[in-house]
């Protein structure tokens, strides 16, 4: 007797095809999500109040640490209290609709629920204090905040050089701008390592290492502790 497995295989083939289409679908879905939510526009999230760093830090040249007071003494840079905002805005631009929003929070004694933009995973130990005290400019990692109306984690649109403060505190151009800027795109380990490879700490200040071969701060547990 002649038995054929063809009919059985046929239904299997259909099932296999369906499975393949489904798996491909997963990849496509994942990628679509990536495209939609990971472009710079979207990853610079809407904030409860359209606060502009450009107006504050750029146009009016208010130093970063005037508001982010904790940066030099704490692991986290600190978000200013509503009281701090009102310190100026009791007087300044009180009629602007945005400032009205701030005063509303203040009058209701409610905090402003800012959305966190710059975030490191919990397994990374990072401290602002050390970096700020070593003279690293905020912009080294955060990009040219003073030009941003809306804070974004990406600096793809940013052509400016990455900045590094000199030991005297003034900001100078860094030769590592090209590398740092690309690393900056993703806020991943490369961003940290790149800088740690090229700088040493002398008398509490970050200084460039002239010739490679340098290992300070390259231990895993510098950040993963």
């Amino acid at each position: 007797m002649n038995v054929s497995i063809q009919p059985a295989l046929k239904s299997l083939q259909t099932a296999a095809l369906i499975a393949v289409v489904a798996v491909v679908g997963i990849f496509v879905g994942y990628f679509i999500d990536f495209l939609i939510t990971d472009n710079p526009e979207v990853s610079a999230p809407e904030q409860p109040i359209a606060f502009s760093h450009k107006i504050h830090a750029g146009d009016n040249e208010i130093p970063c640490q005037y508001c982010h007071t904790e940066a030099r003494r704490s692991p986290s840079a600190g978000v200013p209290s509503v009281n701090k905002c009102m310190g100026c805005h009791n007087e300044v631009a009180t009629e602007s609709p945005l400032i009205r929003q701030v005063s509303e929070y203040w009058e209701n004694k409610e905090p402003i629920p800012w959305v966190k933009v710059h975030d490191l995973p919990d397994f990374v130990h990072f401290t602002h204090k050390r970096h700020v005290q070593a003279g690293i400019a905020c912009q080294t990692c955060h990009g040219p905040v003073e030009t941003m109306d809306k804070i974004s984690v990406h600096s793809r649109n940013n052509d400016g050089p990455t900045l590094l403060a000199s030991t005297t505190g003034e900001i100078m151009n860094s030769e590592t701008s090209a590398v740092a800027a690309t690393q900056n795109d993703h806020w991943e380990m490369g961003l940290c390592l790149n800088c740690h490879k090229q700088h040493d700490v002398v008398d509490g200040k970050a200084v460039r290492v002239d010739d490679g071969g340098f290992d300070n701060g390259l231990d895993c547990w510098t950040c993963h502790k």
């Binding site: 499975a19 959305v115 966190k116």
Partner: protein, 756 residues
């Protein structure tokens, strides 16, 4: 390629769609979630986000009153450490103290007032408002008070010291009741009674372990539980570190405790004969001319019956060992004898501890550095004068049964768990028409409550402490809230103050903080005006910052002498036990392992902390001697019933070499039926089967005086412990050598001199 018909096409489109959807969901679910940065509205002064703030306070997990420093960040308590400036613990902290965070963050903590709306003892508690809860309680109190029947109100609190004790006192007065009882299972009633009889002192003296050169500890597990374990550990370390003058430590107890294991010598005397042994040593000291006081003849008379020969027979310790102990104790200077729960919780407990005092007196240790030093009177209230012993609680139960109690207010106290079943305490409570509890957890006692008004934990509230066992000089510490209350709870003091206001008997304070501050203002006013700070406010600020206050007022010169009557009254009877020795061949020793009296059983850190001697975690066990195990044909893990005249508990056997064959031991703390997910339905509670045999001199139950038998159940369980075998079974894994041997061997090693 198969032909795709219409149906297959629809299937493919469906699969593709589902796949894409799954892909989006997958990425969304593994993507970093959106987080918020919530700033302060108004930033507090002493706060930097990301930077820890430390607050000094007091550990309230036991009555030792260690000082703590709590690390807080972003308004959350993160870690508890010992306060290095506090004379009791000097930066140290025991495991239970460390685990205090798990009281604060315990998932079983009550988050707001509850009303029992079903049967008592059921879990029919429903949420109510504070207003509702307080009104319900206040109306009951008010009716009784107004009718002059305030004495039908009883207050039962865990041992509370300091100014909070005064607040409770004042409340009791306001409602017109004298039924105010503090209760801690391990309160050393016998020790207080013995010191009062021998030295005429109301307070405990300071036992200076730190400077002693020879310690005789009669059943005092000073390293792991007795009085002030952290302080004793420091003293032990200090006395034992290096040098020729190293202290020699002897532990006399039928079951080896951690202190026994740390000692130079372990003497397993028969249970309950510790006092006889002490008098035997006293006899030898007097008879061999080590004591030369004026009252020597009186001592000779009273000790004449305690010859070494007779004592050796009664205690099961050989004459030569006794002689050696007596000689070295008398010759060492300073030496110190202490008596703990092992000695004090017997039918002859107080007499035993008096005998130990006598030993100190005869060896000249009283009032000496390294001996027994009297504490000055504490600067604030301690709970001792109100501490209820077994008799007092039995009396309370009796009143409840007779219908003489209408309202019972419980504050963080769990006598249903620690009282023997024979006392029928639980059934008695059920007779009380209205029970209100201020506990943070539903433990076995609070489960019987009609209303629960949960109080803050100690890390959220004000208080202060004046450690009863002291440090030889006046010391006190303030407990301050280290974080804002997590839940809808109130401070115990504030609840009481509120109730007092509602029944028209307001007290003179507005809040607990006010009461504590007021108390310290008095201490400030009484202090030396030349040396104190300018104002009370500056004193208060400094006090909160330091977390501790002390005064240099040692009483080293006080060498209270016993009078002739006291001496004549000295004598220790043979111990009595409940249960027939034939039927119940073993003496049960319930001892404190890591869980205190059971109050720490709901803390997972403590549950998973291996027991110091057996390394067992998460459960109960029965320690028996290998010989006993062999005779009974039992091995580790065999489930047995431990039966006394009063009842039985079930636990697995653990073969433990360092226990007398006629004694078995069980740790206290497990066997909860309530008290949250970590504590309940785990292990067994040996206190349940104790006989209510009372030492009349202390009024407390003789918890080491119950005889039991072991009944095998034929079942077997695996005991969970971190250590494997405790012996190397002849494999010579750990090779040892004696001190002299070692010296001889090292001297005989040829030294090769390398020419330079």
């Amino acid at each position: 390629m198969p032909n795709i018909d219409r149906r297959d096409f629809i299937k493919l489109v469906g699969a593709g769609g589902v796949g894409v959807g799954a892909g989006v969901v997958l990425r969304e679910s593994i993507k970093h979630p959106k987080e918020h940065l919530i700033p302060h509205v108004l930033a507090p002064e002493d706060y930097s986000s990301g930077v820890a703030t430390w607050y000094n306070s007091v550990c309230s997990m036991c009555s030792a009153g260690c000082g703590i420093s709590v690390r807080t960040r972003e308004g959350r308590a993160k870690k508890i450490e010992g306060n290095p400036s506090h004379a009791v613990n000097q930066g140290g902290l025991c495991a239970v103290g460390q685990a205090g965070l798990q009281v604060l963050y315990n998932p079983d903590r009550l988050t707001g007032p509850l009303l029992q709306s079903a049967n008592r003892g059921s879990d029919g508690f429903t949420q109510i408002t504070w207003e509702d809860g307080l009104t319900r309680v206040a109306s009951r109190l008010d009716v009784l008070r107004a009718a002059g029947r305030g004495n039908r109100i009883a207050l039962l609190t865990r041992g509370v010291g300091g100014h909070l004790a005064e607040l409770l006192e004042s409340f009791a007065e306001g409602v017109g009741t004298d039924q105010l009882h503090h209760y801690d299972y391990d309160h050393p009633h016998a020790l207080y009674a013995a010191n009062e009889r021998f030295f005429g002192k109301q307070h405990l003296p300071y036992y200076d372990l730190s400077n002693t050169r020879h310690l005789l500890s009669f059943g005092a597990d000073y390293l792991a539980g007795w009085l002030s374990p952290v302080h004793h550990s420091l003293g032990f370390a200090n006395s034992r570190h290096g040098g020729d003058n190293r202290g020699y430590f002897v532990q006399i107890e039928p079951r080896m405790s951690p202190s026994g294991a740390a000692a130079d010598e372990w003497v397993p005397a028969k249970p309950g004969t510790e006092g006889i042994l002490a008098l035997g040593l006293a006899h030898h000291i007097v008879a061999s001319g080590h004591y030369e006081g004026e009252d020597i003849n009186e001592w000779k008379d009273v000790l004449s019956a305690y010859t070494l020969e007779k004592v050796a027979e009664e205690t099961d310790v050989s004459e030569s060992v006794l002689r050696r102990l007596a000689e070295s104790f008398a010759n060492a200077s300073p030496s110190l004898a202490i008596g703990g729960d092992g000695a004090g919780n017997n039918s002859n407990g107080v007499d035993t501890l008096v005998a130990i005092n006598a030993l100190n007196y005869l060896a000249g240790n009283v009032g000496e550095v390294g001996g027994v030093i009297f504490n000055p009177d504490p600067a604030g209230a301690t709970s001792h004068s109100r501490q209820a012993n077994y008799q007092t609680l039995a009396q309370l139960a009796e009143s409840a049964r007779a219908g003489e109690i209408d309202v019972l207010i419980l504050n963080d106290v769990n006598p249903v768990f620690t009282m023997p079943l024979a006392s029928e305490f639980k059934a008695a409570l059920a007779q009380i028409p209205f029970i209100v509890s201020l506990s943070s957890f539903i433990d076995e006692t609070s489960a019987l409550a009609d209303v629960i008004l949960p109080s803050h934990t100690y890390l959220e509230s004000w208080g202060d402490a004046f450690p009863e066992q002291g440090v030889g000089f006046s010391i006190g510490a303030v407990s301050q809230p280290v974080i804002a209350p997590l839940y809808n709870t109130k401070a115990t003091g504030d609840i009481v103050l509120d109730l007092a206001r509602r029944i028209g008997k307001p007290m003179r304070w507005d809040s607990t903080e006010d009461c504590i501050k007021d108390g310290w203002n008095k201490i400030y006013q009484e202090s030396d005006s030349n040396t104190r700070t300018e104002s009370f406010e500056s004193f208060w600020t400094a006090l909160l910052k330091a977390g501790v206050w002390g005064k240099k007022n040692h009483l080293k010169t006080d060498t209270s002498r016993p009078n002739a009557n006291t001496i004549a009254s000295i004598g220790v009877d043979a111990p009595t036990f409940s249960g027939d020795a034939e039927l119940y061949p073993f003496v049960l020793q319930p001892y404190r392992s890591g869980m205190h009296d059971g109050r720490a059983a709901n803390l997972p850190w403590i549950q998973e902390l291996p027991d110091a001697m057996t390394s067992v975690v998460y459960g109960s066990w029965v320690e028996i001697n290998p010989k006993t195990a062999k005779d009974l044909g039992l091995t580790e893990g065999d489930l047995v019933d431990i039966e006394s005249v009063e009842g039985a508990v079930r636990a697995p056997i653990l073969v433990y070499p360092a226990i007398r064959p006629d004694v078995i031991a069980m740790p206290i703390g497990q066997g909860h039926t309530n008290y949250g997910r970590y504590a309940s339905n785990r292990g067994a509670n040996p206190l349940e089967i104790l006989s209510p045999l009372v030492d009349d001199n202390s009024g407390n139950v003789a918890s080491n005086a119950t005889r039991v038998k072991i009944v095998a159940t034929g079942k077997h369980v695996e005991i969970v412990k971190t250590g494997g075998k405790s012996r190397d079974l002849g494999r010579d894994i750990v090779q040892t050598t004696g001190g002299d041997d070692h010296t001889a061997q090292t001297n005989s090693i040829p030294i090769t001199v390398i020419p330079t």
